[in-house]
């Protein structure tokens, strides 16, 4: 644990926590402009959070500590990913935790905590949202692992920092079929896990279509603020992971202050561009029926599998 390494981790945490609501605001703004609306501005999610934090957290009668701890577990697990993943620098002192499997498990831990909290309220919506969320998570999980396998087979390690450093060392590998297939598989999983169109629409509260929103209907005030911040951070972390695993240029391999500064700027730019592209893409598509989601995830599972086999057979 060197002091410089700790600074790197702190920078990552600050960037993810501070930037996540801005990213959500940016995506909403892009959508608004493309749909011909004025939009609320990029800072709106932060203003919403400030408002919610001032309010009292009303909790439904009959809920237990599971309901209370749900948001905190999601927030904490995402925070750990933000600290260890190679977003800004690969020279993190918490390198041992930055394993692909550990990160996927941490993501799943947050999902499970929220689904349990949704069940804990005892309302119909909470249970429905929880069941759908678990269905999608169960379908998405193998894909994310397969896509990661394809990337780690190249480097010979499932450590995220090693994968990023390996790609930095041999940039030509980005254009290999294995990487491209893995990128497609990963993109589908990110869309499904982050609850974006065409899997889930984050902007509606319509009974038939809610997945993520249905689980957090009962939350209010401070609790809701934590949940909102955590889901924005999850989106940021997923986008950051996908952008850094496939386009790692600009990640600092040392902990020099200048390198960290440059890497932070590049990371913010990359994730912002990816978020804007995703938002643009969302303007043109509608949400799919829930029963078509397995088809989408089966497709991405197939891409993941092809990526793994291609990484072994096509050199």
């Amino acid at each position: 644990m060197t002091a410089v390494g700790v600074v790197g981790v702190l920078v990552q945490v600050v960037v993810v926590v501070g930037g996540a609501p801005l990213l959500v605001g940016l995506m909403r703004q892009v959508r608004a402009v493309l749909e011909g609306r004025a939009g609320a501005g990029i800072g709106q999610p932060w203003r919403d959070l400030r408002k919610l934090l001032k309010k009292e957290a009303v909790r439904p009668e009959g809920t237990s500590w599971i309901y209370t701890s749900g948001p905190l577990v999601v927030f904490a697990s995402t925070l750990v990913i933000a600290a260890v993943a190679p977003f800004v620098s690969t020279a993190s002192p918490l390198d041992g935790v930055a394993d692909l499997f550990a990160v996927v498990s941490l993501l799943l831990l947050g999902t499970v905590a929220l689904t349990l909290a949704g069940l804990d309220t005892g309302t119909a919506f909470g249970g429905m949202g929880a069941s759908r969320e678990v269905t999608i998570a169960a379908l998405a999980e193998p894909t994310i692992l397969l896509a990661g396998f394809a990337l780690s087979a190249r480097v010979g390690s499932s450590n995220l920092a090693d994968i990023v450093a390996g790609t930095l060392a041999a940039p030509a590998q980005v254009l290999s079929p294995a990487t491209l297939l893995a990128a497609v598989a990963f993109a589908v999983v990110v869309i499904a896990e982050a609850g974006r169109l065409p899997v889930d629409n984050p902007a509606t509260h319509l009974e038939l279509t809610m997945i993520h929103e249905a689980m957090i209907l009962e939350y209010a005030g401070r609790d809701l603020a934590v949940v909102e911040l955590a889901s924005a951070m999850r989106l940021t972390v997923l986008l950051g992971l996908s952008v850094n695993l496939f386009v790692p240029w600009g990640v600092a391999t040392s902990s020099a202050p200048l390198a960290l500064l440059g890497a932070t700027a590049v990371f913010a730019l990359k994730v912002g561009v990816l978020g804007a592209v995703l938002a643009t893409f969302e303007v043109f598509i509608a949400k799919w029926r829930l029963f078509r989601v397995p088809e989408l995830l089966a497709g991405s599972f197939l891409f993941g599998l092809l990526a793994v086999s291609a990484s072994f057979f096509l050199a």
């Binding site: 290999s176 079929p177 491209l180 088809e295 089966a298 197939l302 092809l306 086999s309 291609a310 096509l314």
Partner: protein, 219 residues
């Protein structure tokens, strides 16, 4: 062209061939499937050109031009005309639903890798290592052929099968002799034209091009 460059471009082209085959299973709109067929034809021609550069053979360039004209222009054009006349927009109801077909495609790909291992072991090189891709496309073509109902989808399956055979031939032996290639291509063209006429007749008789209509006798 350096060796590393060659292997990379070869891998990319082969990945593209496999990807376009898989996407044909995924998409339901027939127009999109025909577009994917064009992409696959172009990739196949690119594969021939790549091997031609490698072997310094003019014959392979000629084969590449032939493949490009036939598989990326003529055959998709014919299919496009059939599509326009028939007015069928999408595959109605495949015998196997899309999710299962995608999982089946995964299995077929693995089978292709498994059965081609002794072939690759005969002469390991960059081109033969990519041989499983050609076989996988053959299997995918067979799969489309047996699980789709539309006459047009079945033709697509057949063309996918032929693309797979051509890719396998290119990868295994750096291309077949020009005469053989020409013969095979002519057969293919005749078959597609015959199927075009058949589809038109079916449409006149039944109003649809569902092959299941042909399974029972009528006056």
């Amino acid at each position: 062209m350096s060796d590393v460059m060659f292997v990379q471009i070869l891998d990319l082209v082969c990945g593209g061939l496999l990807l376009s085959g898989v996407l044909m299973l995924w998409r339901r709109e027939l127009a999109a499937i025909v577009r994917l067929l064009v992409v696959q034809g172009v990739l196949l021609a690119a594969l021939a050109v790549l091997l031609g550069v490698r072997e310094h053979s003019v014959e392979l360039y000629l084969v590449a031009v032939g493949v490009l004209v036939l598989k990326a222009v003529v055959l998709p054009g014919v299919l496009h005309r059939v599509l326009r006349d028939s007015g069928d927009v999408r595959e109605a109801e495949p015998l196997v639903n899309v999710t299962s077909s995608l999982l089946a495609a995964a299995l077929l790909t693995l089978v292709a890798y498994a059965v081609s291992r002794p072939l690759v072991a005969l002469a390991p090189s960059a081109t033969t290592r990519a041989l499983p891709v050609g076989l996988a496309v053959v299997f995918l073509g067979f799969f489309v052929l047996v699980t789709r109902r539309h006459a047009l989808s079945q033709v697509v399956g057949f063309l996918l099968l032929d693309n797979g055979i051509a890719a396998t031939a290119f990868l295994a032996t750096s291309g077949v002799p020009l005469v053989v290639e020409l013969g095979g291509s002519l057969d293919l063209l005749l078959l597609v034209l015959v199927l075009q006429v058949l589809a038109a007749r079916m449409r006149l008789t039944f109003g649809r091009t569902d092959m299941d209509e042909l399974s029972e006798l009528r006056d």
